[in-house]
Symmetry: C2
Subunit: 116 residues, 2 copies
DNA sequence: ATCACATATCGTAGATATACGATAAAAAGC
DNA sequence: GCTTTTTATCGTATATCTACGATATGTGAT
């Protein structure tokens, strides 16, 4: 019947979840980190640094682009990516706000020591 | 041959990605928000507020628990959940650090205006 | 012991995600 | 125009996620 109920939540929750999803693979974290490290926006270089096939990296780049976290531009035969700082900061701030709102103390459950 | 290469990334990246994955569904964001709102740790109440079946909510709770973001405790016939503030703050801080490191300015790509 | 209630787990169907190689597309150089 | 280089897309197999109903489990009351 229904195999996806994501849309029944509110936009704020959907947005945050989508952002989190974009970051939910180590390769995508690694790509973002790499893009930040070399301020010039590499592309084939990313492939070289990753333990993944070129096509797979390209797919991850596409997802990051779809999420709006990076921009891409064609530069001759190469492609040139860089972080979309505005969007990323926006979402990061939403996340930080969420974290803040979650930090309240909780009920009676054992605290201290048990961290997992 | 290999359908999962996540382990070929470093631990930091894997940890952040797992945290992000735990947050990558609106239902789980909603659950955390709800847990924070009512400081007393509800459980059946969560089901009541969600557009999901009881078993589905239970599954989401389990994932959050596996990720270490919430604690669960049996309280009579009910189950009682609450946010694991320590772990959540830890991970949140890692994320905030990541965001900080990504905020550098980028190459020549058009800036301003294009926010996807 | 039995019943009622709350929750967890099982089984499962369909959707998505992740990975790859193969191939297409687009630009630069010959 | 053809080749090389670089990247994107297609087709695909397998794994994982998401959802549900059904059922098991566990507790408290009767």
């Amino acid at each position: 019947m229904s195999y996806n109920k994501k849309n029944e939540f509110n936009e704020y929750q959907i947005n945050l979840a989508e952002f989190a999803k974009a970051l939910s693979h180590p390769a995508r974290i690694a790509i973002l980190t790499q893009l930040a490290k070399k301020k010039t926006c590499i592309c084939g270089e990313i492939v070289a640094v990753m333990p993944l096939a070129q096509s797979t990296v390209s797919q991850h780049l596409k997802e990051l682009k779809n999420a709006g976290l990076i921009n891409g531009e064609i530069d001759g035969p190469k492609s040139c990516y860089c972080i979309n700082t505005g969007k990323l900061n926006d979402l990061a701030n939403s996340f930080i706000t969420l974290f803040g709102s979650l930090s309240g103390d909780c009920c009676s459950i054992k605290k201290g020591g048990d961290n997992e």
